[in-house]
Amino acid sequence: MMRTTIARGGLAALASLALVAGCSTDQSLDNPPAEEDPAAAEDTAGDTAEDTAEDQAGGGSDEWFDQAVYEEQDQQRSATFEGPEDQPWLQYIDGEMADTSEYTADGPQKVCFSNASIDNPWRQTGWITMNQQLQVLQDEGVISQMETRDAQADDNAQIADIDYFIAEGNCDAFVISPNSTAALTPAVERACDTGKPVVVFDRGVETDCATTFIHPIGGYAWGIDTAEFLLEHLEEGDKVIALRILPGVDVLEHRWAAAQRIFEDAGIEAVDYFTGADPTEIKSIISDELTTGEVQGVWMDAGDGAVAAIEAFEDAGRDYPVMTGEDEMSFLRKWEDTGLTGLAPVYSNFQWRTPLLAVEKIFAGEEVPREWVLPQEPISEDERADFLAANEGMPDGHYAKFGGEDLPGYPEVWQERIIP
């Protein structure tokens, strides 16, 4: 998609060879922020209604920092979760419940799923898991079929998808994973107006009309977990390189806003760079930094590219940094191979199971949490071996906390990684 954007600009740029700069700048302005971002699309659950997409200008982290939400997420990290112990995808933080008795239905129902995109490994893993969950519910006679439209990270496409579902989809329930917060709000409201149940997950919208909104704790919690881990292992005056995917995506910004604040307060020198998850870029950045001086820590707002960052230290012949990545297999494996001091923050991939299970509850008339906050626990070095063993044979782009071990097709479906 990035390529397409460049290509579109390319014609103009070549006409005058002047717009090279314009092309890339446009991407963050006239397109949904997550469009060309492989990892950004994954997160964003924490962005509740108060974040608006207009804030995209980026820049200082202050405009992305909301003290109240920060504190809420900080507390949620240690909250008690209701629900079955061994099924984290069904757990939630105690709160307001939505009465769904009006949606009680008999027999298999049709679900319409409007998906933002599957353009990064996190979303691909979740999408595979969701399809296996669907199979279970189809076998149980809860869902007749799920019609899916993939918006390929385009707001306009997703709005059209939702309107198509409303007009012609013959849907009994809507599941929506919004591409961006503000732009998708009216479309989600229109879906709510049909009187059918609406389940929103991953990123939020600026309306609470949905029957339930499912997401892990959020970006600030990620930022707090990771920054506090680095602080434990660093000393005042140490230098941390923060590798960020791109500016302007709210939850990625929240991750950094929280972490940056903590680094500042602790006297850690943190320098942030935007990498677009391009490993070439990541290597250049770290090589330059290592030429300039010592680097003791690496912080990432998403694990994509973590391996390239570690390799840059190897290539320069330096000691490994203290580092936070993500629960992507490539990072967990490299982490184990190198023995570096690290942490794998998790943006719970198992949340892709929850929407369909929520639909099951809704059709059964059982109440569901209005805001369904799922657990979000990092993987520590002590737990790493267990997760590596449990996910042996999985491809590098697989996420350790995918939560599909009890689904049909495990493990082959995830090992083969054939995108449905």
Binding site: G10, L17, E311, D315
Partner: protein
């Protein structure tokens, strides 16, 4: 300029490249855009070392050369296309495609390294042939053709990967881009990419002095005259496109090792390569410029970015800088070559050659 058969009755002046003593010729070369870029590289290098002396150590410098090798190699390939009066926009997509092919087809099997490597080169050559023939036989402007190739390849990569990262290929393959000869005096490790670049740069410089290279420049300067002189314009241009696609392939092979497999690898390479080429004083529209200057342009560009990093300028400004450089470099190169040309031919001010910097407008 519809009359290519202008008869220039004045005797041609002697070729100035052979005039005067060696220092005089070096000075004169440095005053051209193609030579000036070397001066620029030295100035930037001095500025970086002043800002950060560690960068001047041989180990750091050679690592920098290794890191810049893929983009310099891409610039060498792009040079042949641009000097022949065309563009290759498909370069970045070729790099990405080759990176993904390496990642998906080699996997963890050592035995597949050589066959896949050969396959990649064949695919690269094929893309070049398609670009070349569509431009010359179908008469589609090259930036439309290569834009089409770029989109087609990008779509293919998106379909194949879903837009997400794949696993890295086996380490032995990645050594090409990551490894080097250890224990070399002074520099320590001599990266393979630096070696590959040296070999290809020598090859490109040699090719430029061969009849192929010289005729190619003539094609870029005045395709009609070159055709009338009996040269096969389509053959020459197609070969230039093949060279370009092959250089993108080699850049891709190095990048798989250096960076790893990711659909973002190679992103923007076509523009970086074109910027490097024009920064090297090669005239857009063809007909003027040296291959090694294009490679030097790549180094100047990367040095500039490194300097900006060391000075604390945010990387988000990179694209802006690149955009400004393209405009300035095209303007400067066009004027400088023009001045040189008019100075060289005072006796024939009204021939078809009055404004060599803007030959694109004439076709």
């Amino acid at each position: 300029m519809s009359a290519p058969t202008v008869v220039d009755s004045t005797p041609r002046p002697a070729l100035p490249a052979r005039e005067g003593s060696l220092p005089a010729r070096v000075l004169r070369g440095a005053a051209t855009p193609g030579g000036g870029v070397v001066v620029l590289v030295l100035l930037l290098l001095a500025a970086i070392i002043a800002a950060n002396p560690v960068f001047g150590q041989p180990e750091s410098l050679i690592r920098f050369v290794g890191r810049t090798a893929p983009i310099a190699i891409a610039a060498l390939g792009q040079y042949f296309v641009i000097v022949s009066g065309e563009f290759d926009l498909s370069m970045g997509a070729v790099v990405t495609t080759q990176v993904v092919i390496a990642g998906n087809l080699i996997g963890q099997e050592d035995s597949r390294v050589v066959p896949v490597l050969l396959l990649m080169l064949v695919i690269g050559a094929l893309i070049g042939v398609v670009n070349g023939l569509a431009t010359t036989w179908l008469k589609v402007p090259s930036f439309i053709v290569t834009l089409g190739t770029m989109l087609a390849l990008s779509g293919f990569v998106l379909w194949w990967t879903g837009g997400a990262a794949q696993g890295n290929p086996v380490d032995s393959f990645r050594q090409i881009g990551r490894g080097g000869i250890e224990g070399v005096p002074v520099v320590g490790v001599l990266p393979y990419p630096a070696l590959i670049l040296t070999v290809l740069a020598v090859g490109a410089a040699w090719l430029q002095t061969r009849p192929f290279g010289r005729t190619l420049v003539a094609v870029g300067d005045n395709p009609e005259a070159t055709r009338l002189a009996g040269a096969s314009v389509w053959g020459l241009k197609t070969r230039a496109f093949v060279l370009s696609a092959l250089s993108a392939t080699v850049a891709g092979i190095i990048l798989v090792g250096y960076a790893g497999v990711h659909p973002s690898v190679g992103r923007g390479y076509e523009f970086t390569a074109i910027t490097a080429v024009v920064l090297g004083g090669v005239v857009l529209g063809g007909g003027r410029g040296w291959a090694l200057s294009a490679a030097a342009g790549a180094f100047a560009l990367e040095l500039l970015f490194t300097l900006l990093t060391f000075l604390g300028v945010r990387s988000t400004w990179r694209d802006t800088v690149q955009g400004v450089i393209i405009i300035v470099a095209v303007a400067v190169a066009g004027r400088a070559w023009q001045r040189r040309a008019t100075r060289r031919r005072p006796a024939a001010p009204d021939t078809a050659e009055t404004d060599p910097g803007t030959t694109t407008g004439e076709r």
